[in-house]
């Protein structure tokens, strides 16, 4: 019985989702995130098939679209802006899951809504990066060598570099506004963007280490900073501690102190996948060095937290004696 309901819900949901294939992923996810839950509830409650109660999936989709204030789908199903390459692959599904988790949080939604506004800035930067990439690629052929910043040097001339940047920015913005004509062109643009993003990172890294940059800001050194508190071992941050006794029995409510008698406090960050819950005393004050601490595991698909696992204890192979 349940199987048939699940199957019916899945079929109906798939048909509704198909009608929104033209929407960008985040928008679609927001609109349809509780579609299955809704269908489940209707199916569980009402007798008779879903189509009897809700109408055909296409009609449901059209009604949802209209009431959500979205424009009617552009063109027919055949003219969808498709991403056939990735759709349905495991990578795409995982990305969709992450995206859904990010969008489940108000901050994630705020970022998602804001990101498109950065597009024009990227188009300008992309043009500049393209010329820098070309300049650096040609560097071994010409004397001078190295990265020329801020203006790239083409054939040994910064003026040529400037002209090339202007031309490239104009071209890049035009491409951005027009959009890619075919899936193939789209793939090309996406790949190019990725390459140029790598170039941007390389330029930043180069600037950080180059002497030319240090000339501008003498004596300025960015030190890699370690967090002021926290606990680490073997280069790994320790967020929780699970003590076991000699018989391998897990110990509860153990206080840890260091050589000076100070509490040993693990490193805590917000929004970790595995987040320990710091215990509190009767007055609500944190008791950060009491272990083990209950772990909350983040489910990335839903953005909800569940009790996390206790790590397994591997006893030493032989008997142990204190020295």
């Amino acid at each position: 019985m349940n199987d048939t309901i699940d199957g019916e819900v899945a079929r109906y949901a798939t048909a509704v989702r198909a009608a929104f294939a033209d929407l960008p992923g985040p928008e679609r996810e927001l609109l349809l995130e509780d579609l299955e839950d809704h269908l489940q509830e209707v199916a569980a409650e009402a007798g008779g098939p879903l189509t009897e109660r809700l109408g055909r999936p296409e009609a449901y989709a059209a009604e949802l679209r209209a009431s959500a204030g979205l424009p009617a789908p552009a063109g027919t199903a055949g003219r969808r802006r498709g991403r056939p390459r990735l759709r349905g692959s495991r990578v795409a599904r995982r990305l969709a899951g992450l995206r859904a988790a990010a969008l489940g949080h108000p901050a994630g939604r705020a970022v998602a809504q804001f990101l498109p506004e950065l597009r024009p800035a990227w188009w300008v930067l992309r043009g500049y990066l393209a010329v820098q990439a070309a300049a650096v690629a040609m560097t071994p052929l010409f004397a001078g060598g190295g990265l020329s910043f801020p203006l790239p040097e083409l054939f040994g001339s910064q003026l040529l570099g400037l002209l090339a940047v202007v031309a490239a920015v104009v071209g890049s913005v035009a491409l951005g506004r027009r959009g890619a004509a075919s899936p193939w062109a789209r793939w090309l643009v996406v790949t190019g963007n990725a390459v140029l993003a790598v170039v941007a990172v390389a330029i930043i890294a180069e600037l950080g280490s180059s002497e030319a940059y240090d000339d501008y800001r003498p004596g300025y050194v960015t030190a890699y900073s370690l967090p002021a508190d926290g606990l680490r071992a073997d280069g790994k941050e320790i967020s929780n501690i699970f003590p076991f006794d000699a018989d391998g029995k897990p110990l509860q409510d153990v206080y840890l102190i260091d050589q000076d008698g100070d509490p040993v406090v693990a490193t805590h960050h917000d929004n970790e996948l595995l987040e320990p819950q710091v215990p509190m005393d009767r007055n609500g004050a944190e008791v950060p060095n009491r272990y083990p601490q209950a772990q909350q595991q983040l489910d990335q698909a839903t953005g909800l937290r569940y009790p996390g696992p206790t790590p397994e204890f591997r006893p030493p192979p032989g008997p142990v004696r204190s020295p």
Binding site: H38, E41, A61, R65, S67, A68, L304
Partner: protein
């Protein structure tokens, strides 16, 4: 008269009224609208309206985990939503007053 046409114009107001009375998730709002007498209200219309009011900044939302069954996304009216509800209520009242007068003037005693 076809009430679905009428509903289209006032669904925002109806949804805001229901949610301002008590926070609710999508299907809960559908049920309460129907219980209030709006039998023809469509599930998808209510969901779409909730989404639009939410992205328009008139509703906030939060997820309530449940032991059995799905985690539900509840909607609540914020200050902007209340302001919209008040303004729309005013518009609705003056509209219905005008309609009542119009219909009354044509000889039908309002019952």
């Amino acid at each position: 008269m076809d009430t679905t046409q009428l509903l289209k114009g006032v669904l925002d107001l109806a949804v805001l009224a229901v949610v301002s009375e008590r926070d609710g998730y999508g299907y809960d709002v559908v049920r309460r609208l129907r219980a209030a007498g709006l039998d023809d209200v469509g599930d998808a219309s209510v969901y779409g309206t909730l989404r639009r009011l939410y992205s328009g900044g008139h509703l906030t939302s939060y997820v309530v985990p449940s032991e059995e069954g799905p985690h539900r996304k509840y909607y609540a009216v914020n200050d902007a939503g209340r302001a919209l509800l008040d303004a729309s209520t005013g518009t609705w009242r003056s509209f219905t007053d005008a309609m009542d007068k119009l219909l009354g003037a044509q000889g039908e005693e309002a019952s």
